[in-house]
Amino acid sequence: MRKIFLHPWFQLALSILCVTASELFLKRGVMAAPRLGQAWNWTGVSGLASPLVWAGIAFVIISFVSWLYVLRFIPLTIAFPLSQFVHVLIPLCSWLVLHEKISLVRGSGILLVVAGICVVAQPVARLEEKL
C-alpha cells in the first residue's frame, strides 16, 4: 500500500485528480458565496465564506505537494505534458457535475490533448524500468 502511495505515477495521478477536484469545489463555492461591493468583488475573497472554497484550497495544497514529489522523480519533459490531462478532466467533470456545455471546438481540443498524452506516455514504459 505504502509502495503504491509513494510511487511517482500514483502521485502524478493524485495531483491531476486534486487539481480537478479543487476547480470544481472552487467554482461551486464561489457561486454559492455572497457577493461583495464592486470595489472588492474582483478579488474573490468573499468566496472564503463558503466551506466548499476551503475544500478547494485544501485540494490545491495537496496537488502542489504531490506535484513537488512527482518533480523529484519524473523529468519535466514528461511530467508537465502528462499533467495537462486536467484539461480533459475539468471540462468532462464540469459537464457531468456542473452541467456546463462542451462545444465542438472544445471537444476536438480534448481529443487532441488525449492524443498528445498517448504520444508522450508511450516511451514512459522504458523510463518505468529505471524507477
Binding site: 523529468p75 519535466l76 471546438v105 472544445r106 481540443g109
Partner: protein
C-alpha cells in the same frame, strides 16, 4: 489589446514557465541544501507573481482569451527543460507536447 496588457500576458507566461523550471530544478538537487532553498524560493515567488498577474488580467479579459497563452506553456516548458535542465528530448515528446499545446488552446477557446 494594449501594449501594457500584452506585456503583462507575456510576463505572467514567462514567470509561470520559469517557476516550473525552478521548482523542478529545486526538487532535483539535494533537499534542504542552500541551493535547494534558493531555487525553491525563487520558484514559489515566480509562480505567485504569475498567479496574481493572471488574476489581475482576468479583471479585464475573458478567461477564454487568456487561457490559450497557457497552452503555449506546454511546448515551451518541454523545450526549455531539455535546453536548460539538460533533460532527454525526443521527436516523439516534441510531437506529443505540440498536440497537447494545440489541444489546450482549443479547449479554452470556446
Amino acid at each position: 489589446m494594449t501594449p501594457v496588457a500584452a506585456l503583462l500576458i507575456l510576463a505572467s507566461l514567462v514567470a509561470f514557465i520559469a517557476g516550473q523550471l525552478l521548482l523542478k530544478h529545486a526538487m532535483a538537487t539535494e533537499l534542504r541544501g542552500p541551493r535547494f532553498y534558493w531555487y525553491f524560493g525563487t520558484g514559489v515567488v515566480a509562480m505567485t507573481f504569475s498567479f496574481f498577474v493572471t488574476l489581475g488580467l482576468l479583471q479585464t479579459f475573458d478567461l477564454s482569451y487568456l487561457y490559450p497563452f497557457q497552452g503555449l506553456s506546454v511546448i515551451m516548458i518541454t523545450l526549455l527543460a531539455a535546453v536548460i535542465l539538460k533533460e532527454a528530448l525526443s521527436l516523439r515528446l516534441v510531437l506529443g507536447a505540440s498536440l497537447i499545446s494545440i489541444g489546450v488552446v482549443l479547449v479554452s477557446l470556446s
